[in-house]
């Protein structure tokens, strides 16, 4: 059962990924990415990461992607023009990415899995388990992300303000 779920979700994710890079209208790329994220959230659930599953759907598919959709509708339907200035760009990128995938494949062949810790899988990935990690060992990184988000919000407001001299 879990195997079937995995392969269906993986197929949907890969198809969505192909859609992201092949659709000509950006809005379709974004919707394909939403599809990828939903498929990945199913896989997170298979990996007993319940909280990451919820965050993936609410924050990623729900908030970040809606931001992308807003910007696309704000900027209007931009279609990609014909060929770019670089010659052989497509072929060179295909070669580069095939090399990259080959590298990752070789790494996967030689990977040495460590013996797993004996964790309680009923507790694993729950909100409680996440919170214990976030508020004890990783308290400082967690607090620092709040500063990061504040900086990002201020930066976005600054960048998208109305220029005074244009008025």
């Amino acid at each position: 059962m879990a195997i079937a779920v995995f392969f269906v979700a993986a197929a949907i994710a890969v198809l969505g990924g192909i859609g992201v890079i092949t659709f000509h209208q950006p809005i379709r790329s974004v919707l394909s990415l939403v599809l990828v994220m939903l498929a990945l959230s199913v896989i997170f659930l298979l990996l007993s990461a319940q909280f990451v599953f919820a965050v993936q759907i609410i924050v990623y598919a729900g908030a970040v992607m809606v931001l992308f959709l807003f910007v696309i509708t704000l900027l209007g339907p931009a279609r990609e023009l014909g060929r770019g200035r670089l010659r052989y760009q497509g072929w060179l990128s295909a070669v580069f990415v095939l090399v990259l995938l080959g590298l990752m494949w070789t790494m996967l062949q030689g990977v040495q899995y460590r013996q797993p810790d004996k964790a309680d899988l009923n507790f694993f990935g729950t909100v409680q388990a996440i919170a214990v990690g976030l508020f004890t060992t990783y308290l400082y990184p967690f607090e620092l992300t709040s500063i990061l988000l504040l900086v990002a919000a201020i930066g976005a407001i600054y960048l998208s303000r109305k220029h005074i001299d244009e008025l």
């Binding site: 910007v71 990690g133 976030l134």
Partner: protein, 109 residues
């Protein structure tokens, strides 16, 4: 090879890593081939998601929560990156049309 017992069936950990590698490769193709800056940002999000999948898969294989915590941190960073990147794009598009990222090459050395 390390098989994970998920709901009674045995799934191999390398399947998840392979899926993550394929998604990362697709995102890399998108960044290299597409010329619309918005689509490039979307492809970067795809690559970040693939990296998250690797983190969560290893977290499950090692039965250690730290991978999931790191995936949450990387989601935060991805959200911040998307916000700032889109704000820069909106600012550029306000001045002129930038349907091709090659048109935005004034800053090159």
């Amino acid at each position: 090879m390390s098989s994970l017992n998920i709901g009674g069936s045995q799934l191999d950990a390398s399947w998840f890593l392979l899926l993550s590698a394929v998604l990362f490769g697709l995102g890399a193709v998108g960044v290299l081939v597409r010329r619309n800056p918005l689509v490039i940002l979307i492809s970067i999000e795809l690559m970040l998601n693939a990296a998250n999948l690797t983190l969560v898969a290893f977290s499950r294989q090692l039965q250690n929560m730290e991978g999931q915590l790191f995936a949450l941190m990387s989601m935060t960073v991805a959200a911040a990156e998307a916000v700032v990147g889109l704000a820069i794009l909106v600012d550029i598009f306000r001045v002129r049309d930038a349907e091709d990222i090659d048109d935005l090459s004034e800053l090159r050395g």
